[in-house]
Amino acid sequence: MNRLPRLRGQLFERHEITVEKDIVRARQAVGRAMDGLGAKAIRKTRLVTAASEIFRNGLNYGGGAVALIHCDAGNRMVWVDCIDDGPGIEDMALALRDGYTSGTGLGRGLGGAKRLVDEFDIVSEPGVGTHVRLAGRA
């Protein structure tokens, strides 16, 4: 799988997502990272909501994931990576389209997450895994 470039900034927290409670823990960590940069409620809510969507995808479709949260204090950005070694996404354009779902969601997960954040990147390879990266400005 093509890898997304290494992030600058400080690693804030790393979370393994293997059960549903881990989604809650990891998204709360994203919230603390935004609080640490003094984010306004709306900016924090957008990023935490988007992170919740991709963490759930990592668990439900990827079979589990690792969440990495980085703080870039200089640029007042929080970066969220969600990496899984699941089946990958066959048709990326379709998966990113609003309204599409291959599972049990409303189909606004990935496309919706993309709309809520300031930076969005995704690489995926069938049979290898998926790496989603989000960032929000505080």
Binding site: E20, I23, A41, K44, T45, R46, G105, R115
Partner: protein, 118 residues
């Protein structure tokens, strides 16, 4: 289910308080429990308080819509109260406007609307 949601019957109205730490499994379990409790207690209405929730994502949004749908089918009109402004803005940005869910500004408003049959 853990303490992720509390159900309280007050004057024939079922109050549902959802905890910030609720996870996907808990909220699915809440659907079953709420339907049972509303039926068993002959509740005349349901008020779901989400003021503790820092976010509502598409999964939780979908379940909230289903909770309201269950309430309607059980003849227990359902109100959602306590949504934080940032949560409302984010839901609209996600395209989830929850058209089938009735909202009220707070618990008191919801209860008085239920009492007046609106």
């Amino acid at each position: 289910m853990s303490q992720a949601a509390g159900l309280f019957l007050v004057d024939e109205i079922m109050l549902v308080a959802i905890d910030e730490n609720i996870d996907d499994g808990d909220i699915v379990a809440l659907q079953d429990r709420l339907a049972e409790e509303v039926h068993a207690n002959d509740a005349q209405g349901i008020v779901i308080d989400i003021s503790a929730l820092e976010i509502v994502d598409t999964f939780v949004g979908r379940i909230i819509a289903q909770l309201a749908g269950i309430g309607v089918l059980l003849d227990a009109p359902t109100y959602l109260v306590g949504m934080r402004p940032a949560v409302a803005m984010t839901l609209v940005e996600l395209g989830m406007t929850l058209p089938s869910v009735r909202t009220a500004r707070n618990l008191q408003h919801a209860v008085s609307r239920l009492r007046s049959g609106r």
